[in-house]
Amino acid sequence: MSELAATKPATADRAIRSPLGEFWRRLRTKRVALAAGVVLLAIVLVCVFAPWLAPYNPTTPDYQAILAGPSATHWFGTDAYGRDILSRVIWGGRISLWVGFVSVTLGGAVGVALGLLSGYLGGWTDSVIMRLADVLLAFPGILLAIGIVAVLGPGVTNVIYAVAVFSVPVFARLVRGSTLALKQSVYVQASRSIGVRPVALVLRHILPGTLPGVIVYMSLRVGTAILTAAALSFIGLGAQPPSPEWGAMLADGRSYLGVDDQLTLFPGIAIFVTVLALNLLGDGLRDALDQRLR
């Protein structure tokens, strides 16, 4: 920045470096995160195209082939009813990913809104919202989810609500924190001194500033949500038989551990790979979004 020349026309000719462009440029250097993103994309595509990709119907039993090991006809083997495990893993992914993304989006949206309100307004609004968040956070997540499902009744939809509810306070906390910081930032004060109305101030200047943290946390949180949903199904509160949910499949295969490991191995790997990919992607996003746009 040492410049004695009156103006530097150089900047006028260079390509515009938008914040989004900078983000992509940084993300491109994060190889692990990119690989995780590709894996995740593949998983999502496979789930989307399940009706065409799955070799068998996931719920049709085949009593001629009960508890068969992996073979050319059944790549991942079959379960106690002779259902093809590969097909069940593929169809099950639809449920798991759906539950993960929808519940976190729902919980995130509510949490971000509450966090913005809480941080921007302060005072008793802040106190009420944060005390409620404290109450929710005081429960272990899985216990809270079990409680909610116990009230609403078992089923995939209610699992989504349950997981969404326990995502709300973490997002509210996260967004409240960055809102408090941004509220004091000079550029928000500058906009206020211009006369920008509070709603525009929050939506235009504060919300975009909190989003990088929210995006990172969402990607990490989807993994947690998938695990929680699987756990709920495992104890029989989530997806009901015969729907092929990964957690439910683990529960089904539990009695055959050590005898027919394909029942637990493949859904287990599916959960493991998906959650790991989400976490690695989240880490990469955090590094790429944590830019000093100064």
Binding site: M1, S2, E3, L4, A6, T7, K8, P9, T11, A12, R14, I16, R17, S18, P19, S185, V186, Y187, V188, Q189, A190, S191, R192, S193, I194, G195, V196, R197, A200, R204, H205, P208, G209, R292, L293, R294
Partner: protein
Amino acid sequence: MSSPSSSPSGRTASHPGEAPSAAPLLDVSGLTISFPAGRERVSVVQDVDLQVRPGETVAVVGESGSGKSVTALAVTRLLDYAGGRIDAGRAVFQLRDATSLDLARAPQERMRQLRGPEIAMVFQEPMTSLNPVLRIGDQIAEAVMLHQGLGGAAARQEARRMLERVRIPEAARQLDRYPFQLSGGMRQRVMIAIALSCRPRLLIADEPTTALDVTVQAQVLRLMHALQEELGMSLLFITHDMGVVAEIADRVVVMRSGRVVERGGVGEIFARPREDYTRRLLAAVPVLGSLAGQALPRPFPENGDEPPAQDTVEPAGPPVLEVERLVTRFEVKRGLLGRSGGRIHAVEHVSFAVRPGETLGLVGESGCGKSTTGRSILRLDRPEAGAIRLGGTDVSSLTPATEKLLRRAVQYVFQDPFASLDPRLTVGFSIAEPIRTHALLAGRAVEARVEELLEQVGLGGSYSRRYPHELSGGQRQRVCVARALASEPRLIIADEAVAALDVSIRSQVVNLLMALQRRLGVAYLFISHDMAVVERVAHRVAVMYLGQIVEIGPRDAVLGRPQHAYTQRLIAAVPIPDPARRGHARALDDSEVPSPMRRHDDPPAVAPLVRVGPDHYVARHKIGGLF
């Protein structure tokens, strides 16, 4: 261990203008330093030569990015921890035992032993260079124990002696205090005490007074000068401030973009600079007193032309802004229950008026309430009492109508150009925000206006699609000025608007503000701690101290014939970029500015100002026990 090389470099010799005296204590030659940038390395310092002789003060001066700090880091080899690398060159240092050592190649363990007893450092930010959780006595004692091998009690004794030596009052009591309990100036003295506790032969000071107020800066500079003479050490002083250079240096090295541009004795550099860059650097430095005797302010000279006088004030008609008995106080909460422990009297019965086309300079040291005054006018801080009138309309209570009027007619330019623009929005969007907010224009006309504003501040319309992080500090501050102009305000509050900029950029932005005033007739409330800049821009000057205006009047009268003791002290402390007028002899006291925080039952004394000349008023009551 290392084997000290026996002879210094063969290039010891004299550059023109250097006194051929004793052999140099430090002889840097051909120093080249690079930092990693992605997969490559960027060379930030190239082929720098530099000599420091025993007992002399060498100032390395340059603007940001000139490589002056990196050079100092390389000499101490703290560079290694900052990621940099010395690619070439030598830095031969004469050790106490008469052997010499090339610092550029010495192993880190050897350097660790040298740091302290041979070479000590003082950094810019005194708060972050002290450990916040240790008492200052323990921090000094630690250095003493490490380097002088004294035991606990003896080290504490020595720590007390060091604090006395750096003129800290009640040294014994101060030993038990924590850094946060001390003011910035006191902390910097503690840093100097720690640095000197090892009796180094070379002290490297990197912008040691930049974060300090002028009066404190003057105290610290004088102290360093006195201690240097007492201890006979050499001083390598890194600064961007030509005024400070003139105050303290024997010889000067001017750096730019990692290279030495010019070197020479201090008198010679200031009187007969050989290089064009040095000349321009010196020309851009505001000199307090350069407009003495002139009634009107005048922009900085550009391209050698004498600029026109700033004759823009409309004496008739109502003032743009009238502030009457404005009071802003902050409650200080203490303890678990949030009981009020006292009040900070940031702004205390402040009254002034700004006429159309006029610039009122509001000067004072940090904490005097000058920024809070500006922020209170725009309700960024909430005033407790007082009247604010805009062109005769009372806007003291904010109704939707008065708020709209206020937010359109008065605009604010903040100090930090890096923080005052939303990093996620384009420059054009930021400038358009006031236009859209106040619905002044719509559709295509907004874009045309944004481009026109960018042209007005000297940037060109194509900048509207840029993002702030693509611009330099000076360019960003121009954008902020364009945004401030967008709602066609009658008054712009410029809060230290040029303080964060390099000198050359500073004079450009000041000239821009003044040109806009000539063209648009806008009035400024120019809040600044820099008296020399204020002399350039202001028609009238108000001096604030502990939340009150102690003196207000025409610029020439206040700066030329100051009537209040505090104004006189403030002006005396300003470093003058002229080594012939060095201020060590000038009378300065070492007293601290008292805190503006007071108990509830102890309000400060307030009294009307007394007229001492035409339009010139001075406080004659006692403020803060000092004046």
